[in-house]
Amino acid sequence: MNRTVLIVGGLLAATLVGLLTLSLDRDPQAIASPLIGREAPTFALREIGTGRTVDLAQFRGKPVVINFWATWCAPCWEEHPVLVANARRTPNVQFVGVVFQDTEEKIQNFLNARGSGYPTLVDVEGKTAIAYGVGGVPETYFLDATGKIVAKYNGPMSTDILQEHLQKVMQ
């Protein structure tokens, strides 16, 4: 029995197989956000429809939910009514939508057909998305009243998930 082979080979094999087994659970698309716990990047963007400039700073003092989305993203269609309903139900939380890689016309048509209860803003050359580390849509950021990012959720939210995260910012 060659001990060297056994030990070296055994170690290599155990490490490799163990590693691959652990990794089977993970989703290579889900990337954790380093922004959590830090102050949210500031922005002032144009609102669709009214043309007003909406500044994030004006919501200081209230928790804010920022949702990045697009009309070409099927899960965003499912998520939209959940957001609108919750925005109405919790008026002390400010909801804001930011458009990600889409045309104003499509967004406007979508909102006209399905309604909205909060401002939807247009990004400039994707810079806001980049600053927030957005890698896909929908992605939602939860800010507390001081403007700090407390949580982030990748993917479409159900009412339960949304309310679970809202608890975190309403403390």
Binding site: P34, P41, A44, L45, V124, G126, A129, A131, G133
Partner: protein, 180 residues
């Protein structure tokens, strides 16, 4: 007098609308790198130098929506936006380190294609080096062992092997004499 009063009333009625029409919206503001990494620490670039440097720095950043391609190589809209951001920051005089740090602060280490030499990441740089040294040592000892004067006594091509079944039968028949 009446005309003046009418003018004043007209102005008073029109005033709010005029104010609203003339009201300029506050300037748009996108999150700026300055919030993340402070003021530019390098020299501003332009022209061909800017073009080359943009490609170099973009090649170190990973496109978050693609599968492994760098921002320099990816044709996706996200990568094009990021590359534009890199170009703008270089134009303003940010250094490569600052630009990489800016993206790292919003996307995490995931976006850096070259692993930073810190913490557990050092292993990815050190393990191959350790393997090189270890391997060289092993090769040295193997070379020595194999060239030792007593190494590998060559058995003669026709020498019967100890577990040869035919030899065993012969021995059986001959009655166990003459072991090899």
């Amino acid at each position: 007098m009446k005309r003046l009063a009418l003018l004043v009333i007209a102005l008073a009625v029109a005033a709010p609308y005029l104010v609203h029409a003339l009201q300029v919206q506050p300037a748009l503001k996108v999150p700026d790198a300055e919030q993340f990494v402070g003021k530019p620490k390098g020299t501003a670039l332009a022209g061909q130098a800017l073009y080359l440097r943009t490609n170099q720095v973009a090649a170190l950043l990973r496109c978050p929506v693609c599968q492994g391609l760098s921002v320099a190589d990816s044709p996706s809209e996200m990568a094009v936006n990021m590359k534009g951001q890199v170009r703008e920051l270089l134009q303003r005089g940010y250094t490569e380190a600052q630009i990489l740090q800016y993206f790292e602060l919003s996307y995490g280490q995931f976006v850096l294609l070259e692993p930073k030499f810190e913490g557990v990441n050092t292993l990815v740089w050190l393990l191959p080096l350790a393997a090189l040294i270890g391997g060289a040592v092993v090769v040295y000892f193997v070379l020595r062992k194999l060239s030792a004067p007593t190494a590998g006594q060559r058995p003669a091509a026709n020498a019967p092997r100890p577990d040869d079944p035919y030899l065993a039968r012969v021995r059986e028949m001959v009655g166990g004499e003459g072991k090899s």
